[in-house]
C-alpha cells in the first residue's frame, strides 16, 4: 500500500475521532478499496466479500470515536476487518456443516471458498505423491485398489496396519517430520 494512502487514512481516522464529521467522505474514499481487497483476499473473492467489507466499514465508523490516538489507524481497522472475516468464515463453515447434515451432495453450495478448494486440491496432490511410493498390494489394503477376497479379518487388519506404517514412512521421507 502507498504510504500516502496510509497517511490519509490515519489523518481521517484521527479527525473523526476528534469529532470532525467532514472527514467521513475522505475516510470512505481511502479505506473502501483497501477493505474490499482485504475482504476479497480473506474470503477467496466470493460475492459476499463486498458485504463483509461494507460491514467492516460501518463498524469502523461506529467505533472510531473511541479510537486511541497513539495507535496506528490501519492496524486498528485491519483488526476489526480480520474479526469480521473470521466471523463470516465461521458462518460459512457452519452453513456447510448444516448442509452436509441435511444430506446435500458434496459440491452443491457446500464448498466454503476457493481457498478451501485449493487447500483440498493441494492435499490430494501431496497424498498422491506419498501413495505413489507404495506397492499395489499396500494400495489395495488402504482401499485404493481391489481387496483380496476371502482373507481373515485379523490378517487384513495386520496388513492394513503395515501398509499405513509404510505410507507414514513414505510421507516422512518426502515431507519430513510433521
Amino acid at each position: 500500500m502507498l504510504p500516502e494512502r496510509r497517511k490519509a487514512i490515519q489523518q481521517a481516522v484521527l479527525a473523526l475521532a476528534d469529532g470532525d464529521r467532514g472527514a467521513m467522505p475522505a475516510l470512505v474514499a481511502e479505506l473502501w478499496p483497501v477493505l474490499l481487497a482485504f475482504a476479497k483476499r480473506g474470503l477467496g473473492d466470493r460475492p459476499d466479500a463486498e458485504d463483509v467489507a461494507q460491514e467492516v466499514l460501518l463498524r469502523v465508523c461506529s467505533r472510531v470515536s473511541e479510537f486511541d490516538r497513539s495507535r496506528d489507524a490501519l492496524s486498528w481497522v485491519f483488526g476489526i476487518a480480520t474479526f469480521e472475516i473470521m466471523t463470516q468464515r465461521r458462518r460459512l463453515l457452519r452453513r456447510r456443516e448444516s448442509f452436509s447434515h441435511s444430506g446435500f451432495p458434496e459440491g452443491c453450495g457446500a464448498s466454503a471458498s476457493l481457498e478451501d478448494d485449493a487447500i483440498r486440491a493441494e492435499l490430494k496432490a501431496v497424498l498422491a505423491e506419498a501413495l505413489g511410493e507404495l506397492s499395489a498390494a499396500d494400495l489395495s489394503e488402504l482401499g485404493f485398489g481391489p481387496q483380496t477376497p476371502g482373507a481373515k479379518a485379523p490378517a487384513v487388519r495386520k496388513r492394513r496396519q503395515r501398509a499405513l506404517e509404510r505410507l507414514r514412512l513414505a510421507w516422512r521421507r518426502i515431507y519430513g517430520e510433521p
Binding site: G19, V28, W32, S65
Partner: protein, 179 residues
C-alpha cells in the same frame, strides 16, 4: 456495488450512533451520583434540576468532539471533590444549610472548590488531556459540585465556583507558563 457517496452517508449515520453511545456512557457515573443526591430528604427538586443539567451538558459535550470528552472527564474528576464534600457536610453538620453567606461553611466551600480547580489545572497540564478546554471543564466541575452543595445554599454554590476559578489560576501549570 454501492456508490461511495451513499456509503459515506451510511458511515456518517453509524458514526453518529456510535458517538451517541459513547457519550451516553457517562450516565453510568452520573446517574448513581444523582440518585444518591435524590435520596436526601431536602432539596430534591434543585438536585434533580442540577442532575438533569449536568447529564445533558456532559452527554452533549462528549457527543460533540474530543475536546468535550476531555473536558467532561476533567470536570467530573474535579467536581467529585466538592460533590462528596458537600454531601458529607450536609450529613454531618446540618447547620450549614441555614448558615449565613459569610461563614465557615462558605469558606469550606471555597477551599474544596479550590481543590477542584487545582485538579482541572493539573489535568490541563498532563499531556493526555491537554486537548480539553479548561472553561468547559470548570463548568462541568461547578455543575457536579452543585449537586453536592445545592442544599447548602446559593452562597455555597457560588463559593465553590469561585474556588474552582481561583484554584485553577493559582495552581502552577507548566503548560500555561509557555503560553
Amino acid at each position: 456495488m454501492e456508490n461511495l457517496e451513499a456509503l459515506a452517508k451510511r458511515g456518517l449515520r453509524a458514526y453518529e450512533l456510535g458517538r451517541l453511545r459513547m457519550a451516553l456512557r457517562v450516565g453510568l457515573v452520573l446517574i448513581p451520583a444523582v440518585v444518591v443526591c435524590l435520596l436526601e430528604p431536602v432539596g430534591r427538586v434543585c438536585c434533580a434540576g442540577c442532575g438533569v443539567l449536568l447529564l445533558g451538558a456532559a452527554v452533549w459535550l462528549r457527543f460533540r468532539d474530543r475536546v468535550g470528552v476531555e473536558s467532561v472527564t476533567s470536570g467530573l474528576l474535579a467536581g467529585a471533590i466538592p460533590l462528596v464534600a458537600g454531601l458529607a457536610l450536609v450529613e454531618f453538620d446540618p447547620g450549614c444549610a441555614a448558615a449565613p453567606a459569610f461563614s465557615c461553611c462558605t469558606l469550606f466551600s471555597v477551599l474544596v472548590g479550590g481543590a477542584a480547580g487545582a485538579v482541572v489545572a493539573l489535568r490541563e497540564a498532563s499531556a493526555k488531556s491537554r486537548s480539553g478546554n479548561w472553561l468547559l471543564a470548570a463548568g462541568v466541575a461547578a455543575l457536579a459540585a452543585s449537586l453536592g452543595c445545592i442544599r447548602l445554599g446559593l452562597a455555597s454554590v457560588l463559593a465553590v465556583t469561585l474556588g474552582i476559578v481561583v484554584g485553577r489560576a493559582a495552581t502552577p501549570n507548566p503548560a500555561r507558563v509557555g503560553e
